[in-house]
């Protein structure tokens, strides 16, 4: 279970450029829930994800993962509990390393690293088996450099890498946004399947309201560093994009005019 209490993050505090990215955000995600997050640019989505991952440390408030306070833990220490797929296909993998080297790196997430060989036969078998399910023929290209793969292939491999080891929460940072529609659909389908199969707790940020409603069990909208609304269960069933916009203006008392939220 993930608990976020009164989370506050301010960039450039005390300067003219002060930006209160998160303003006392509270959220509890029970185990096995798949949450989708929407919000306009600057709403705090990325900061929230970075705060959960440890890339940004909160100024106030706490983050608890299974009742353990991880608020002050840096990214690498949280990596055993938090797995992540980045928006940019280039960011989630090392293009100079081979597919198997990338996967071997991810295979040790949450474990100590020593002097034993990073690539072993039994690991290669695991990699081949996981890659084969993508149906992209990558299982026969273990020794190819990651840079030779297309954006969609890299995002699919990133997803496999993130889920090689167990985690308490999987963070997906608009991981289909940089892909063409067909590839994005493929990666999203893969995401749904993996999360369902492994019964993962996941938080997916998306720019598309449609996507936010189509997948997952619960949808949050962030606005000005806080949660504008939070729908799940029966309330969420049958909701459509206009309903979300209405929900937003009802709770916030203002019209949502950001086109970027309507696209997709």
């Amino acid at each position: 279970m993930i608990q976020v209490d009164q989370l506050e993050v301010t960039f450039g505090a005390g300067t003219p450029l002060e930006n209160r990215a998160l303003r006392g955000l509270n959220l509890t995600i029970p185990e096995g829930q798949f949450v989708t997050v929407i919000g306009s640019n600057g709403a705090g989505k990325s900061t929230f994800l970075n705060a959960l991952a440890g890339e940004v440390l909160a100024d106030h408030g706490r983050i608890l993962i299974d009742d353990q306070d991880v608020s002050r833990w840096p990214t690498n220490k949280r990596a055993g509990l938090v797995a992540r797929v980045f928006q940019d296909p280039l960011a989630g993998t090392c293009e100079a390393l081979t597919i198997e080297e990338n996967m071997a790196l991810a295979l040790k997430r949450g474990h100590g690293r020593g002097l034993s060989r990073s690539i072993r036969h039994e690991y290669q078998e695991i990699f081949k088996e996981r890659l084969a399910r993508l149906g992209l023929g990558l299982e026969s290209r273990l020794g190819d450099r990651m840079g030779l793969l297309s954006g969609g292939q890299r995002q699919a491999v990133s997803l496999l890498m993130a889920t090689l080891q167990p985690m308490k929460i999987l963070l997906l940072d608009e991981h289909t946004a940089a892909l063409d529609p067909k590839t994005a659909a493929f990666v999203l389908e893969l995401t749904k399947n993996i999360i369902e199969e492994q019964n993962l707790t996941a938080l997916m940020v998306t720019h598309s309201m449609r996507q936010a409603l189509d997948v997952g069990d619960r949808t949050l909208m962030l606005h000005e560093g806080n949660i504008a609304f939070d729908v799940q269960g029966q309330d969420r069933e049958g909701l459509d994009v206009p309903d979300l916009l209405a929900l937003f203006s009802k709770t916030k008392g203002e019209e949502l005019s950001d086109d970027s939220l309507l696209l997709g």
């Binding site: 890339e55 990214t75 690498n76 990596a79 980045f86 690293r113 034993s116 990073s118």
Partner: protein, 296 residues
């Protein structure tokens, strides 16, 4: 060129191969432009020579030189990782500091190893031409370091270090302590350079406080030159290319200095180095342009 000049060039090529290994870690694996090398090379020489003169076992003295090199690397990386000083500047600070430290270690600008026992001494009476002895022993040293180095780079820690250099955010997300690995990597790099300095002092019979000038450029010349000639497809081949680059570089220098008709003299060494490095950077790029042109 005489056999003596040829094998002399091979000998120093092997020594600078160790420097190239260090430069490879810093510049290629970690993407950390580390100029500490210019200080850690004479540091290794100073430590080894001083300890040998005071009666230490040459092998222990050489090991201590390596440790001293590692410590210099730790300082540079620490300045960068913990104190957030720009990596290039951090390495320059350590390099400058080492000049004073090297003078302090030796107590004078140079130490001569005349008649002292070095790691080469036990082999001096070998029944082969004298100019072959040092290259053969150094080949042994370099081979051992090469094998250990490749083994490390293919280990879990080595892989994490490579990821730290190419994508630190991704490495952290996978649980890699990037700061610690940067410190370890720069330490290893300078440890190998310290070893090279120690062996250089023992093969030349002297350690001098100014002997480090330009070490980094020679190391870079070796890495870039090797990459231009050989395959870098696997990490083992890539590191091997650095070694070959170092030997070819010293041979090229020897040829240039030995060819009387060119009219170059020993004092032109640094100029030749700069020209060779420039060529090594530019020529592969021209090859690439041609290939692209051919396809279009």
């Amino acid at each position: 060129m005489s056999s003596i000049a040829f094998f002399g060039a091979v000998e120093s090529g092997l020594l600078f191969g160790l420097v190239a290994f260090g430069v490879f870690i810093a510049f290629r694996v970690l993407d950390f432009p580390d100029l500490t090398v210019d200080g850690s090379f004479p540091l290794g020489a100073a430590v080894a020579a001083t300890l040998i003169v005071t009666g230490w076992n040459p092998w222990l003295a050489t090991a201590m030189a390596m440790v001293a090199g590692c410590m210099a690397g730790v300082v540079t990386a620490w300045l960068n990782v913990r104190l957030q000083i720009l990596n290039l500047l951090a390495s320059i600070l350590t390099m400058i500091a080492l000049y004073s430290i090297n003078l302090r270690i030796m107590g004078k600008p140079n130490v001569a190893l005349l008649g002292d026992e070095t790691v080469f001494t036990p082999f001096e009476n070998w029944d082969i031409p004298f100019y072959l002895i040092n290259p053969i022993i150094l080949s042994g040293f370099v081979l051992v370091v090469y094998l250990l180095f490749v083994r490390f780079m293919t280990s879990e820690l080595g892989l994490a270090m490579r990821a730290t250099g190419v994508n630190d955010k991704m490495a952290r997300a996978n649980g890699v302590h990037t700061g610690r690995l940067t410190i370890l990597g720069v330490a290893l790099a300078n440890g190998m350079v310290g070893l090279a300095g120690a062996l250089f002092a023992q093969s030349q019979g002297t350690a001098d406080v100014t002997m480090g000038v330009g070490t980094i450029v020679i190391g870079l010349a070796a890495v870039i030159g090797g990459e231009a000639i050989l395959s870098t497809r696997t990490i083992a081949r890539w590191i091997f290319a650095c070694l070959v680059g170092a030997i070819l570089y010293r041979l090229a220098i020897a040829v240039a200095l030995n060819a009387d008709w060119i009219g170059l003299k020993a004092q032109d060494l640094n100029l030749i180095t700069a020209v060779l490095v420039t060529l090594a950077i530019v020529i592969p790029r021209m090859k690439l342009l041609k290939r692209k042109g051919g396809r279009a």
